[in-house]
Every structure is written in C-alpha cells, then in structure tokens.
C-alpha cells in the first residue's frame, strides 16, 4: 500500500482549494504559478525547460515516469538528453506515478531525480479536475505543503529571465555563420539545431549589449515570465531592427521582438502548453502542429505597419508569429526546436540560415 512507501502532501491553490496527494519527490514545501501541460511524452525535457521557472507543472497525461530519466551525458557543452543543466520547474503534479521504469537510456527514476534536484512532486491527484479548474479560473498561484504551511510567492513579480540566463558569454561550434544568441532561458535544443548548420553560436546574457559585436544573425531565445520584465533586451532589439542582420525569435524571443516593433503583449487566461497546438501560415493553406509553452501572447491588432502576422493559432486565433514585410526578421510563438514535441516546423531554422547566407551575399 502507498502509505508504506510514500508520504502524504497537499497541493493548495490560491483560491483555497486543496488536493491531497502522495509525495514522490523532494520533501519540502514549494510555491509557484500552477500551469497544466497536455503533452503525452517529454517530462525530462519539460522539467529542464527554463521557461517553466517559477511554475508548478500539472501533467494531464496520467501515467508519468514510465521511461525513467536519462543520464547526464555531455555533448557540445550541453547535456545531451535535457534542455538545460537542471530542473527549473518548482514542482510537479501527476495522476499516477510509475515507480518502476524501463528504458535503455534511463539512469534513474523520476522520483530519484526530483529528490536529487530538490524538486517536490505529488501523485494521486485528479489532474483532469485540476486542469479544468485552471482552465476555468485561469492560471493562479499554488503551493505544495507537507507539515508546515508556507506563504504563496508570486513569480511574476520577479525577473525570472535574469535567474535562468547565463551570466557570462559562452561560444559553441566553429562554423562559418556567427549567430548572436540572446539567452533569456534558452533550451539546449535551439543551440543543437543551430549547430547542425555551419555555425558558431555566441550565447550571451539576456541584457547583453551586442551592438558593437560582429555577427551574421541574431537569435532571441525562449524564456520564462512576463516579457515586459525584459525591457533591456527590448531596447537592444529596437536598435537591431533598424539594421539588416537577419533576426529570428522564439517564444519569449517572439514577444520581445514584437514589443520592439511597438506591438503589445497580454497574459493568456491559462496559456498554451502542449504538443498539439495547430498553427496556420497566414494567407496560405499550410498548417503545422507545434509544441508550445507560453503564458503571454502578442496582440495581433497591435502589430504595426511594416510587420505582418506570420502564423495564427487555429484553436483560438491568437498570434503565433510575426515577420517584417521586407527585411529578414521573423519570430514564432511556438517552438520549432520541439524537444519535447513535434518537429514539423524545424524548417524555420533552415529559413534563418538561408536568410543569413543571402544577407551575407
């Protein structure tokens, strides 16, 4: 029986509702913004995605932990099977935990990993019920408590990007095209994708002033929280869009580029966090499935002249990307680098590199 192996713990929502579950992770109270993700695979990737910083993730797929957690194998200066060097989420809520796992690439169980990374996790909770509450009432604060209560912390008051961004410049690869990558909490797979082309990736802190540096293309990464917390980066971008270097932004990077153009952002009721967000390329019949993880979005009607909506979400018609009418600037709200999720839009990296090649000529 569960009470022999697991300790009881409670999830408490901002509105006072509470759920009793069993702890299978680190046994310490935590607090954060509670969000749900409907992906059916990819918990190691999601947990290490810096965009989840400050959030308690609810996974709607009920059986989690099945294939364990891979080893921390290094490749190109990054952990091969993770999206960063640690778990960024504040907590994990699931329905049923597979304490026994099996996979050739697994090194430890999900529970052991959570304990090692000091992240609490609860199972035995009706995650569908919880998801419906978040859907109806919107994203809210929550906490996981054991014996003693703690207060709720609002991560949106913090500059999360500053927490997850690197502090010093790192250079990856030695290729022909030099990419200036502004790290707002970049996922490793973005760097892996860029390195597949003949590139040198220069990863710099989110507030780094790269205007005096030499580079061929500018990339603005994904990251956690409210984009208006990153006005330093927006200011740098306002300079960049006066120039002609190709620019590509993903997720938070898309929001920052949009803010730089003068467009506005807003907070979604409960965000998009899944592997099955359908987007349509505006003005075409081309549609793709995308991986997404964001709580804020760009107001389509605020996109200024000279810029066009690039993609639109087929579920709720929200903006999924912008592009400049003439210059090689574009960005997407979704994640072409996937990991986790569908890889259908990976061609956008090729577009970016082609734009760089064209610009260099």
């Amino acid at each position: 029986m569960k009470d022999k192996n697991y300790r009881k713990a409670t999830l408490v929502l901002e509105d006072g509702m509470s759920f009793s579950g069993w702890s299978f992770g680190y046994e310490a109270a935590t607090s954060g913004e509670i969000v749900f993700n409907t992906a059916m695979t990819g918990y190691p990737e999601s947990l290490t995605d810096p965009s989840y910083c400050g959030q308690i993730i609810v996974l709607t797929y009920p059986s989690i932990g099945n294939y364990g957690v891979p080893a921390k194998t290094m490749e190109d200066g990054m952990y091969r099977f993770f999206e960063s060097d640690r778990i960024h989420a504040s907590g994990l809520i699931i329905a049923d935990y597979s304490e026994k796992f099996n996979h050739w690439n697994a090194q430890q169980s999900l529970g052991d990993w959570l304990i090692a990374e000091k992240v609490p996790g609860l199972f035995g909770i009706d995650t569908r019920m919880l998801t419906k509450i978040i859907r109806e009432k919107g994203t809210m604060l929550a906490k996981i408590i054991f014996d003693d209560d703690i207060s709720l912390n609002d991560p949106s008051l913090l500059n999360l990007v500053d927490q997850v961004s690197i502090k010093e410049k790192i250079v990856y690869g030695t290729g022909r095209n030099k990419i200036m990558l502004v790290d707002c909490g970049v996922k490793s797979n973005i760097i892996r994708y860029l390195l597949r082309y003949d590139t040198t990736v220069v990863r710099v802190p989110w507030n780094y002033d790269y205007s005096q540096e030499e580079y061929d293309g500018l990339f603005i990464s994904n990251g956690p929280g409210d984009p208006v917390q990153c006005m330093t980066a927006v200011n740098h971008l306002q300079q960049s869009i006066q120039g002609n270097h190709p620019i590509f932004g993903i997720c938070l990077g898309h929001q920052l580029l949009s803010l730089a153009t003068g467009a506005e952002t807003y907070k979604l009721k409960f965000g998009h966090r899944s592997h099955n967000q359908p987007v349509l390329e505006v003005g075409t019949n081309k549609a793709w499935l995308t991986s997404q993880n964001h709580g804020y979005a760009v107001k389509t009607e605020s996109i200024p002249d000279g810029w066009l909506p690039y993609f639109v979400n087929l579920n709720d018609q929200s903006n999924e990307g912008i592009k400049h009418v003439k210059k090689p600037f574009f960005s997407t709200q979704f994640h072409p680098e996937a990991s986790s999720g569908p890889t259908d839009t990976a061609f956008l990296f090729t577009h970016f590199i082609n734009a760089i090649e064209a610009w260099k000529k």
């Binding site: 190691p44 294939y67 049923d96 597979s98 793709w288 087929l314 579920n315």
Partner: protein
C-alpha cells in the same frame, strides 16, 4: 473543387477474421460525411446486418458481391462520378485495384477520390515499397531472396544474425524458422529448399517493440498523426492478435517524435489523401527502427485509434477525399476547434483481442504472424493496471481480470511463456504465483518490463488482499488501491472473503459494493474530449475511473434517460447484427424524445460512435458497472434485449438488484433461458418439444439414451452459440463428450435431448406487445437440423414449408408470446418433419436474423420493439411475409483459411464469422448472389465429390446429373464413384490422399485442377477420417470453394446450372 453529386462506396462484405466490424464503422462514417455535402451515395455491400446498409445511412444500397464483375455492372447502371475505395478494408481495396487495372474507372469516367490507386498499388507491393522508402532513407527489414544454400549462407553473413528463413510460397510457415549462426542457417536452408525453390533470408526483429501511427494528410500536404499505439506483445505477433495500448507507454519523447516524423515523410512521399497506418519495429535497446507495414486505407487500427482518441478518422478521411483541407474542417467532438490537430489523451486505452479457438477442431492455439482472433475490446482508464483488468473482463472468456481467476491449466509454464497462445497473459499471472520474477518473464516473453512491472503490481495487490479475511479489517487505502488497479468487486470479494460461496449468486459482490460505497470509494465519470480538458468540449463520450475526484458531467435525474446495453466483443455467435439492433434502438429512443444512453466497449462498432447516442459509456457490461451507471443516470429504464446474449444474461441479475428493465420481464427471460422452466411451460401450454432431460450423472444419461435412442444432442444450460454442445451417435462418443462438456459447465447440469435427423429447421422472429404479436417473420433453413442456426443458409420468406406447418408455427408462437407476456423482440426455433412441429429454443431478445428479415421485409423490427418497450402504442403493419414477391437468402462466411489445421466442417457448434443477405427475384437467384458474396465462384470445369453417407449420396444425385448435362467433369472418390456408376453418371475415380496412386485427390487439389470440392462428412461427430480431413483442409488451403453439406451443395448447383452471372439482376434494395 469540382462538384461531385454521386459517389460509389465499396463495402467490405461479410465479417471475416482480419476484416470485421471496423469497416461498418468506417463505411458508415464516410457515408454520413458524403451525405452532409449533399452527395448521393451508392453503397455495394452484401452484409445485410450492418448499420451502413440501412436506409438512412446510404441512399442507394446493393446487396451484391464486392467483386469487379458486379461493381462494373453497378457503375454502368448508376453512373456515379466518384468512388471511395478506402473504407471497405482489403476487399474493397483489392476490388478497386482490379477495376483500375482493367481500366474500368477510366472507361466510365469515374474519379477515384482520396489516395490515388497508383499510390495504393505502390504500398501493396512489398519489394517496390521497400525501394521507395530506401529512396528517402527510410529503413525496412533487410531481406534477400536466394535459390541455393550457398547464397543463403552469404545472405546470412551480409545481414547478420539472428535471422529468419522463410520458404517462399508455402502454407502454414513450413520450412521457416529462426537461426542464430551459420550452422543453424545451413540446416534450416536445406530443409527450406525441400519445400520451395526460393528462400527468403531476412533479418530477425524478434523482441523488438511494435508501434503504429495513424496518419492523415490532406490535398494541401498538411499532415497530422492522430494517434500512436504500442503493442504489449513484441514483434512477431500480428497487431490484430496483440494486446495494444494507446498512446505508447514506453517510448521517450525522442522516440515518439522520430517515428512520427518518419510517418509524415512516408505519407507525403506516397501521396496519401485521407488516412494511412504505418507500423514500426523499434529496437528496445536503441532508437533503431524498421518500417514493417503501411496500410493506405482505413484499417482495424484506424478504427481503434478513432475510438481511442475521439477523433473521427473515417469521417474526416472522407471529407479530405472530397478535397477539403484539415484546417477547414471542424473537430466534431469539441465543435470549437479544427480537425487539424493531434488529440492529447489524459487517459489510456487498451485493446485486447477475443479468440474463439475452442470452436474449432484441430486448430493450433499458438498466435503469431497471422490473425486468428474474431473480435476485440477496448478498455479506457487512467492507469495500465486499470485498463488491463477491465479489458480482460471485457473479452468475456470467463476471466475476472488479471488476478483472482479460476486456475487455468498450463502444462509447461516456460514453454507457455515463450510460445504465445491466446491465454498467455493468464500464464504470466500463474508464473508470478509460482515465484517467477519480472526479469525471468521478460526473458521468456520479451514483453517490455514496464508492462510486466505493472502486472506484478496487480499480482502483489491480489496477494495483499488475500491476507485479509473480512471487510471490517480491510484498510480503505488498500480497497481504493485495488479499485484503482481495476479490481472488480467480485475479484476483491473472492480474495478477501475467499471461503464463502461466491460463485452462485451476486450477494457477496453486492455486499462488498455496499461496503465500498459507504467508505466513499466510488468510480468517477470522465469525458473523452480529444484535448485533455484544455478547451471545454461538448462531448458525451464517457468512461469511468477510480483515479478521480469528480464527475465531468451533471446528471439530470429527469427520468428521460434510456440505457441500452450493447453487445460487447464480436465473437462467433454475436456480431454486427446486435450492433445494428442497438443502434436502431438508440435512434428510436432519440426520436421518441428520450435521451439515449449506450453502454458498450467494442471499438469495431457503430454503437460506440460519438454520434450514435446522446451519451456513450465506453464501459463494461458487468453487473457492477451497469449498476454504477444506473445509479448515476437514474434512467427511465434499461433495455437488455437488443445486445445479444451478454445483456440477456444480465437481465435477471439486474432485476434482482432493483433495476427497472424495459420490455419483457426478467422473470420471463429467465423462464425462457432456463431449459427446465421453459420446458415445463411448453408442457403446460401443450407445445411439443424433442424429448429431453436435465441430468447430472453419466449413468442417468446413458439410461435416458436407452429410452429415446441415438442420436442425442448433449449440451449445458446457459450456452452462447452452442459452445460445448454436440450430437452423439453412440455410447462411446457419449462418454467421451461428457467428460469435456461437464468440465466446462460445472455449475450447470447437462441437458440431453433427442436429435431428429432430416428435420427442417424454421425460425420465427417477432415483436410482441404485452403478449400479442405485432410483427413477425418466418424463415427456413436450407440445411437440415444439425447445422447451427448461425452457420445455416436461411431463406425468407420460406419456400418449401407446408402451409399447415406455417400455420402451426404461428399458433405456437402466439401462445408462447402470450404465456411469457413478451413485450419486445423474440426468436423461436422450430423443428419440422412432415407436419410435426417441435420447439427447440426461444430467446426473448433480438436475434441474429433480425436485421436480415427486417431489411428483406422492409419493416424495422427493432423500431417496433423499442417503441413498445418505451410504452408507446403501436399499430400492426399492413404487410406480412406473404405480401412480398422476392426472396432473401442469408449465407454464412467462414474463415477457415485463417485457422490453420482447423477442420472446415459444420456442426451444432457455430463456426462462421460473418454473413451476407442477398435478394433475388426467385430463390435460385438469391442463393447464387449470396453464395458468390461469401466467396464461392461458379466452377469452370472440374468438381471433386465425396458424397458421404447414403442419404447425402441420394440428395446429390440429381445435382450430379445436372452438372454432367452442363458439361462439368466429375471426379469422385471410390464410394461416390461406384454410386455414380450404378446410377449411370459418368465420373473419374480418384484415389484417397493416403493411397499413393494416381489420379489422387490431394494432387488434383494441389495442382489446382479442381474448381469446387463437395465433401460430405460421414457423420457429425466422430473425429473424421484423415482422408476426408485432408481433402477439406487442402481445399481451404489452396483456396478452392468447399461445400460440406449436401442440401446446400444441391441448392448451389441448381442455382448455377440455371443462371449465369449475366442473368443476375442488378437491382438495388429500393427497387424490390
């Protein structure tokens, strides 16, 4: 998009192993999708019991064979502009390819909608397809064809061991096997070359994971994968024979999306427009993979994927064939989002096949690369433990889940683990109990340890439950854990209260139920909404789980819900006909202003479509679960008479728990089901029946046979489709059979009845209202009694029955209806000899033949029955069977070719897997159409006859004369030859297979010199002489039409000597 106004849809014909009810689902959805666009639909499908061949689904329906000949005739007549080939399984696809290759579509300017035929042909040719995939760097299993042992050894070295050797073009896998080194390969190759001139050396993927993707593409090149599925059983077992889960459970994100991406590349390269299934082998120790199969059409897996996700695959595929883009279509479940998305599941499903191998003599129970199962179930829940235990109950083989079952007999447990049979999962449980570890079982079975660990958890819980001996001491937490792991109340009661008499009644499980409810441990109702609750959805597609804290829906308790119990897994004896009945009941309920609620768990059905009922519970048809639903729904009433035997058996149990049943009282149902009570009733109202007795000792049975004489029919009570019953002709057979029969039905005594030879079997299908018959249909079997009614060929209206007999049958039926106060459908089977009429069986529910007679008479019996059950007043229709001037014939489809080694002979136990019903202007036309529809062909020249006992020799005499007159060559085995000789019929004598002389029957068959085989078994029971068996089996294996009943053979011969194919009228149902 050019405007198309009339479209031809090819159906899949009779249900057979490998091609079953899933195509009724896909065809029905396609027809609905076309109808929504204002397109006139023309459907060809002789499967008269299907939902798709009902008047409100297709506009014009032809009950004719799905063969190029008939399809061309229909094209000529109907002049459609487009044709759909992808919705009728391999039958429709093969027919479509043949028509394309003959230039028929071009000739009539017919546009193939959806995936182009050329693309389909590319996927069907294994070698060409492997080359095509290689051209886009996609891997398929390496395979080299060789003609010498030396080449085989080279190929082995090139591919690398282990490898598999296959002799080309042999039957039943002769000369095939695995080898791990050169020596083994040398031995096996030598052996293989003794069977065939060509041998295939292939890399072995034994033990690899098997994973499938369902992919959809539109004409704008937009692609989605609706679902992936993972086989519990590793590669080597056909996916139709495997336990399958969706979504995949053991794949990482990287593996999931790698295979997904390859699926998309394949589908784009092939140019699919619509639906496609891609099957993979995935290395359990790396991300290496092989594409093992691609189906460029709707398949069994796509039906499963559709039910597993709520995504209406067939409906969408039909729209895409018309030129729509995925993003232009609405998600019919959420109604707010588009069809361009991939469902996110917040539950999991488990499919388990249902086998009926015990219905066949001599069949091998091992499962492998070819399909033998006859149906399947899908269980939904929120943990693997929950779905596997639910699922193992749903297949209806007498098991209560994974644990707490009756002991199954396993000889060598290690052998049973490594050589999978239909019961392997239960062997795993036995192995756990004997102390085998997960690792040991993994080594034997190659089943992924994750699945085995989950099964181990169930086993451990069962052990923990056994350590408690009363409800009062049982911890709530353990009880909840057991329920979350899918334990039924019955299982828990058996484990905890193991010393009580749990089997005889429901009292024990109900006491556990009440205790559990007091403790607040109850299941919750959850919706399947395709988006894991991300957006609100208007869906009534439901399941129940113990992993929950709230219901997704509100219950009205307004007394307007009417629950219909479905038919469960398709099996021999219960098939698509009960789906038709259920779906029609739902329709009438909705029309009458009630809320229709369906409970069923068969993914191959139309009744489990999201749009067939107001509310669908994809749930167990068990006492426990039906009570759960009844308590929540508080229905106006529950209908148990349209879903076949499963709901029928639940009737009295539900009644005892206070559930309000609509229609005939449960007590009457019990009176008809219980042979003893029924017989007493017949005696009381003065209706004759064959002499019988319910006996419980062998001595008593022997004494009874001395009184009435042989042959006798021996059977247990409460049977489904004649399981375990048999006709015995002498005392030694009797003793032999009793050992088997009493073993399978310990709780029920054996019933022995006098068997009448050469008696006609006649069926009455009717609907009554408070004992008064409102509509009825009488039909007649072509075969004499002794062939199970589910296997018999049936004509309606009856053609060769005395008017006096009909009159007496009507009278008896009226008396029975009145006595049992029937309100709803019922069926009575009669024996008639001369004018002597006896009742042999009575079922107070819809019968197998109900859709057939309803459609031939054009009177929907279920609609009448349902209105009566809802309490409406109905008028008798003006029309009876005496008013129609055409004939319907229902013929049975057998699947012996799939069941290697099974003896293809008919008896009192049902063996057919499906049926067709065709209409003709006269009897011979109808029977010819029906026989052609179940795969018979008009023979060209040579017919081999072994005519069996004297009375069948006589029966066949006139037919033989007619064959000779038509210029057929008759080949006859010795006794038949002599009989023909004596009667002046010229024939060629052939030797029995075991006589090494020429001409030999087996050689003629193998050389395919025979066009039809008539082989009448010598008697109905004794293990057949090897020679007769060899001839019958060879006919099946070499795909030569075989008839084993003299009456049916005669009828078929009369028909094809009278009519040619061109004489047959091409008339739609509406034209009769």
């Amino acid at each position: 998009m050019e405007k198309i106004t009339k479209v031809l849809v090819l159906g899949s014909g009779a249900l057979k192993i490998g091609e079953a009810g899933e195509f009724d689902y896909s065809g029905s959805q396609a027809l609905k999708a076309l109808k929504e666009e204002g397109i006139t639909t023309v459907l060809i499908n002789p499967n008269i019991a299907t939902v798709q061949t009902s008047e409100d689904i297709a506009d014009i329906i032809y009950y004719l064979p799905v063969t190029p000949f008939f399809v061309e005739k229909i094209i000529q007549k109907e002049q459609p502009e487009g044709v759909l080939l992808a919705f009728g399984g391999q039958t429709a696809l093969n027919c479509g390819i043949a028509l394309h290759q003959d230039g028929i579509f071009e000739k009539y300017g017919l546009k193939v909608l959806g995936t182009p035929v050329q693309a389909i042909i590319e996927t069907e040719d294994r070698e060409k397809f492997a080359q095509l995939l290689a051209s886009i760097n996609i891997k398929t299993p390496r395979s080299v064809a060789v003609t010498t042992v030396a080449d085989a050894l080279n190929a082995g070295l090139e591919i690398g061991f282990p490898i598999i050797v296959r002799a080309a073009f042999t039957l039943g896998g002769q000369g095939s096997g695995f080898c791990n080194n050169l020596d083994e390969l040398k031995n096996l190759a030598e052996k293989a070359f003794s069977y065939a001139d060509q041998v295939l050396v292939e890399e072995s993927l034994k033990g690899w994971k098997e994973v499938e993707y369902e992919v959809v593409r539109d004409c704008y090149d937009n692609v989605i994968t609706v679902c992936n599925m993972e086989n519990f059983d590793p590669l080597g077992i056909h996916t139709g024979e495997s336990i399958v889960v969706a979504p995949s459970q053991t794949l990482t994100n990287s593996e999931y999306h790698k295979l997904r991406k390859i699926s998309i590349e394949i589908v784009k390269r092939v140019g699919i427009i619509g639906e496609c299934n891609v099957q993979y082998a995935l290395d359990p120790y790396s991300e290496d993979y092989r594409v093992i199969e691609v189906n460029a059409r709707l398949s069994r897996s796509s039906a499963l994927a559709s039910k597993a996700t709520g995504y209406p695959l067939a409906f969408v595929a039909a729209k895409l064939a018309l030129g729509f883009g995925l993003h232009e279509l609405k998600n019919s479940v959420t109604k707010t989002t588009t069809a361009f998305f991939e469902p996110a599941l917040d539950y999991m499903v488990c499919k388990i096949p249902r086998w009926d191998l015990n219905k066949f003599q001599g069949v091998s129970r091992e499962i492998g690369s070819s399909m033998k199962s006859v149906g399947e179930i899908m269980a939904i829940g929120r943990s693997f433990e929950e779905v596997i235990q639910k699922g193992l109950r749903m297949i209806g083989v007498g098991m209560h889940g994974f644990a707490a079952n009756k002991e199954i007999e396993v000889g060598d447990i290690e052998l049973a683990l490594s050589n999978p049979t239909d019961t392997r999962i239960f062997v795993i449980e036995q192995a756990f109990r004997q102390g085998y570890t997960v690792e040991e079982i993994h080594q034997k079975t190659k089943i992924d340890r994750w699945f085995l660990d989950k099964l181990m958890r169930i086993h451990e819980t069962s052990v923990e439950l056994e350590s408690y001996h009363s409800l009062e001491t049982l911890p709530d937490l353990l009880l909840l854990q057991a329920k979350q792991q899918g334990f039924s109340d019955f299982q828990i009661a058996r484990l905890v209260l193991s010393d009580t008499d749990y089997g005889r009644n429901d009292q024990i499980q109900v006491s556990l139920r009440n205790w559990r409810k007091q403790r607040g441990i109850i299941p919750y109702v959850k919706q399947i909404d395709t988006l894991a609750a991300e957006h609100p959805a208007v869906t009534n597609y439901l399941y129940m789980t113990y992993h929950g804290s709230e219901h997704d829906i509100d219950f009205e308790a307004d007394d307007r819900s009417v629950i219909v119990l479905g038919s469960g897994a398709y099996r021999i004896g219960s098939s698509v006909e009960f789906d038709w009945s259920g779906v029609n009941a739902l329709k009438t309920i909705d029309k009458a202003g009630f809320r229709s609620v369906m409970i069923n768990y068969n993914p191959e059905t139309v009744s489990t479509d999201y749009d067939s009922s107001s509310r669908l519970y994809f749930e167990e048809l068990s006492l426990e679960r039906v009570l759960d639903i009844v308590e929540l729904e508080q229905p106006f009433g529950t209908i148990v008479s349209t879903g076949g035997q499963i709901p029928n058996n639940l009737a009295i149990r539900l009644y005892n728990q206070g559930v309000k049943l609509l229609g005939t009282s449960a007590l009457s149902i019990d009176q008809a089901e219980n042979r003893h009570k029924f017989s007493a009733m017949l005696d009381k109202i003065g209706v004759d029946q064959p002499a019988w007795k319910e006996l419980s000792s062998v001595e008593d049975i022997v004494k009874f046979t001395e009184e009435v004489g042989f042959p006798v029919l021996v059977r247990p009570s409460y049977v489904l489709s004649g399981a375990a019953m048999n006709i015995v002709s002498n005392i030694s057979e009797l003793r032999h059979f009793l050992e088997l029969a009493t073993k399978v039905s310990k709780q029920h005594p054996v019933v022995v009845s006098k068997f009448l030879t050469d008696a006609k079997e006649i069926e009455m299908d009717a609907v009554a209202d408070k004992g008064e018959i409102i509509v009825y249909a009488i039909s007649e079997h072509i075969e004499f009694a002794g062939v199970h009614s589910g296997d018999a060929t049936i004509m309606f209206p009856p053609q060769k029955v005395y008017v006096e007999t009909l009159r007496r049958i009507k009278k008896i039926s009226r008396e029975i209806a009145l006595e049992l106060q029937i309100s709803g459908p019922f069926n009575i089977q009669f024996l008639a000899k001369d004018n002597d009429v006896k009742v042999i069986e009575c079922n107070l529910r819809a019968s197998r033949s109900l859709p057939f007679v309803s459609k031939v008479l054009k009177t929907n019996f279920i609609d009448y029955a349902t209105r009566i059950m809802l309490g409406q007043k109905v008028e008798k229709p003006g029309k009876t069977l005496f008013d129609i001037d055409y004939i319907g014939v229902k013929a049975s489809q057998f699947s012996f070719s799939r069941l290697s080694k099974a003896d293809p002979v008919l008896g009192v136990d049902m063996a057919s897997t499906g049926e067709v019903g065709c209409i003709g202007d006269d009897y011979y036309e109808a029977i010819l159409k029906a026989m052609l529809s179940v795969g018979y062909k008009i023979p060209k020249k040579n017919i081999l006859i072994s005519s069996g006992p004297m009375r069948s020799k006589t029966e066949l005499l006139q037919s033989a004369v007619m064959l000779v007159e038509r210029g057929y060559n008759l080949f006859a085995t010795r006794g038949t030859y002599q009989f023909f000789e004596e009667n002046g019929i010229p024939s060629t004598m052939v030797h029995w297979p075991d006589v090494p002389e020429s001409p030999n029957a087996f050689d003629l068959l193998r050389e395919r010199k025979i066009d039809m085989v008539i082989n009448i078994p010598r008697n109905l029971t004794e293990s057949e002489l090897q020679n007769d068996y060899t001839i019958r089996r060879a006919a099946v294996d070499f795909n030569i039409p075989l008839i084993t009943n003299a009456r049916l053979a005669s009828a078929f011969i009369y028909a094809f000597t009278r009519y040619t194919l061109d004489d047959l009228s091409i008339k739609s149902w509406g034209e009769y």
